[in-house]
């Protein structure tokens, strides 16, 4: 990795004294080459991004992709093995698993994206308040410590136990479970940004605090928040499927990957395909989002990329 030369820790008394030559300090700016050049330099973004896009398209256009009604019962044709007629087979109520899996993409993506956006916005707000208002900081951080001491899946399960299962409640429960991590991240970023010389300069120049936040702090939190949001999206999709799988998530009438697997659970030793098709879709989607996150991290925040 040539970027390691930029690491401040790499500059010791020895190599400062001999004044490194320019290429050592600044590697030449690589050829840009527009959108495709960017994609070529960041294969993780290219692969992850196209898989996510594909999955979004599948979710949107599910009715056009040779699916039938995913909730239509056909007891006479139950537990059929995958065939030309039923590509992924049918479940114990005779419902077409191919259709159910494709429609299931909607729930997973909706939950993943909603939680990512909501948790980022709320976490950003809380983290900002915590980073700027001293007296609020200690209270907020104690509460966040408390929330973080409950394992997130357990917290989501406990919240779901209080309400009826619905997609909306699943989103709220997972968002609440994710907020502490985002808040901590933003707070950390804000605290380190406050020490930056350009913030001192802005203060010295008489800039008012809201303007400093808007113009100097907020834009610099966006890169780490975007990266974090993709990871939250991935983890929210997993938590949703877990909640649905144990019966505390999306109501059974809505096909979601977790629900399909939960229904296939009793039969999985004889009819494993009921569980495996949604499992494959879920794994690929989460993998794609994680790849996208890794790619964004490498592209947006080289320092963080080095640490992990």
């Amino acid at each position: 990795m040539s970027a390691s030369i930029l690491d401040p820790k790499g500059i010791t008394a020895a190599n400062v004294a001999v004044a490194p030559t320019l290429p050592d300090i600044m590697p030449p700016v690589r050829a840009r080459g527009g959108f495709f050049g960017f994609m070529r330099r960041n294969p993780a973004i290219a692969i992850g991004g196209s898989l996510v896009t594909l999955m979004v398209l599948v979710a949107i256009f599910a009715p056009l992709l040779f699916t039938t009604d995913p909730t239509a019962l056909a007891p006479a044709r139950r537990t059929r093995e995958p065939s030309a007629m039923y590509w992924f087979g049918t479940d114990m109520l005779g419902r077409d698993i191919y259709s159910r899996v494709l429609y299931g993409a909607r729930v997973s993506l909706l939950v993943g994206f909603s939680v990512a956006v909501l948790a980022s916005i709320i976490g950003l707000t809380i983290g900002m308040i915590s980073g700027f208002i001293r007296w609020a900081d200690s209270i907020i951080m104690r509460v966040m410590d408390g929330m973080m001491s409950i394992p997130p899946i357990l917290l989501a399960i406990a919240l779901m136990a209080l309400t009826r299962g619905s997609v909306q409640n699943v989103i709220i429960a997972i968002t609440i479970a994710e907020i502490p991590r985002v808040s901590r991240l933003v707070r950390g970023v804000v605290l380190s940004l406050r020490e930056q010389p350009y913030v001192d300069a802005a203060v010295a120049a008489g800039t008012r605090t809201p303007v400093i936040i808007w113009r100097h702090i907020l834009p610099n939190t966006l890169a780490p928040i975007t990266v974090q949001a993709t990871y939250i999206c991935a983890s929210a999709m997993i938590v949703e499927s877990i909640l649905s799988f144990i019966g505390a998530g999306t109501p059974p009438i809505i096909p979601s990957w977790g629900n399909i697997m939960a229904e296939g659970r009793a039969l999985w030793q004889v009819k494993p395909y009921i569980v495996f098709f949604p499992a494959i879709f879920l794994s690929i989607t989460v993998l794609a989002v994680n790849l996208l996150g890794d790619g964004l991290r490498d592209a947006l925040d080289p320092r963080m990329a080095k640490r992990l």
Partner: protein
């Protein structure tokens, strides 16, 4: 040092208080009126009121919270709505499988992940490194029940090496116990291994650039000595921290793993309690798991000074 330990232990009190408050509120805002349930269908509103008063349900929130905490401190976690058994007893009956599963997973994950991370850092940029990192991304992405079903399908159904599901208490012999738990442990451990391997690699990369590693090389220390003695020792603190934080993943994952492999542990208890809306049981399990999680991380914090004598408080 002693002052630090006392301070650190005291610092967990507000955290535990918050957890207790949250868990108590869970039952407080839970739908359904216990007094009405106990009174039955024939009861008049006056009867319900009387029962409510006798249960102390009409008193203010904070007083009820105080009494509840007092009972918890005496080991009384309440009574299950569904089975009428004390929650503490139910947890006691179910704790062995979960504890077994977690211990095996922990041992497995740590003994696999740390060498993986160390070797990846040593061979940075090579095929080995990329394989380990690729596995880490995959481990984060494939949910625990997917790994579980794939493993069970291959090793239990197709190859018939181990039982498909179930649990055998350790009293009936180590081998049957271990056979039942090895697949669940691998499934549960996958994401944990990914997490630990990743942080091990990252920390080792940093440590390997230090001057004392160069000195060790210069004085002729062997590669294995450098990696595992000089470097890993200095990388221990972040790795152990992540192992502690990752316990949360194990706890959440255990709930699912036990469902997949039909293990009658605390995870199954939680799932059953959710489906029956048995709030006292949910409360008890969440409280227990969170308490264990906080305790483990407290111990890890206290361990830092032993792991790294340079740390002074």
């Amino acid at each position: 040092m002693l002052a630090y330990i006392v301070r650190r232990v005291l610092a967990t009190i507000p955290v535990m208080a918050f957890v207790a408050l949250f868990v108590f509120s869970l039952l407080y805002v839970a739908p359904g009126d216990p007094a009405a349930v106990i009174a039955g269908d024939q009861a008049t509103p006056a009867d319900v009121e009387r029962i409510r008063a006798s249960l102390g349900l009409d008193r203010p929130f904070l007083i009820r919270f105080g009494e509840w905490v007092w009972r918890i401190l005496q080991g009384d976690l309440g009574v299950s709505i569904f089975t009428n058994l004390p929650v503490a007893t139910m947890i006691q009956q179910r704790i062995e499988p979960t504890l077994s599963l977690m211990i095996i997973t922990l041992i497995l994950a740590v003994s696999v992940a740390i060498p993986m991370g160390v070797i990846a850092a040593w061979k940075q940029g090579t095929v080995i490194d990329r394989t380990v990192m690729g596995f880490a991304v995959l481990g984060f992405s494939v949910p625990v029940f997917v790994v579980g079903y794939v493993l069970a399908y291959i090793f239990a159904l197709e190859l018939d090496w181990v039982p498909v599901q179930g649990y055998t208490p350790i009293k009936q012999g180590f081998w049957p116990w271990f056979q039942n738990l090895i697949l669940p442990a691998i499934a549960l451990g996958t994401v944990y291994i990914a997490l630990i391997a990743r942080i091990t690699r990252a920390t080792m990369l940093e440590v390997l650039q230090q001057d004392y590693i160069r000195t060790a090389r210069a004085k002729g220390a062997g590669q294995r000595n450098i990696l595992f003695l000089h470097a890993l020792k200095n990388a221990a603190v972040p790795i152990v921290t992540v192992i502690g934080i990752g316990i949360a993943l194990l706890i959440g994952g255990a709930v699912v793993t036990e469902s997949v492999f039909a293990i009658p542990g605390l995870g199954r208890l939680t799932v059953d309690a959710i489906l029956r809306r048995d709030y006292p049981v949910i409360q008890g399990v969440v409280l227990l798991f969170s308490f264990v999680y906080v305790l483990v991380n407290l111990m890890i914090d206290l361990l830092y000074t032993i792991l790294d004598p340079r740390i002074r408080y």
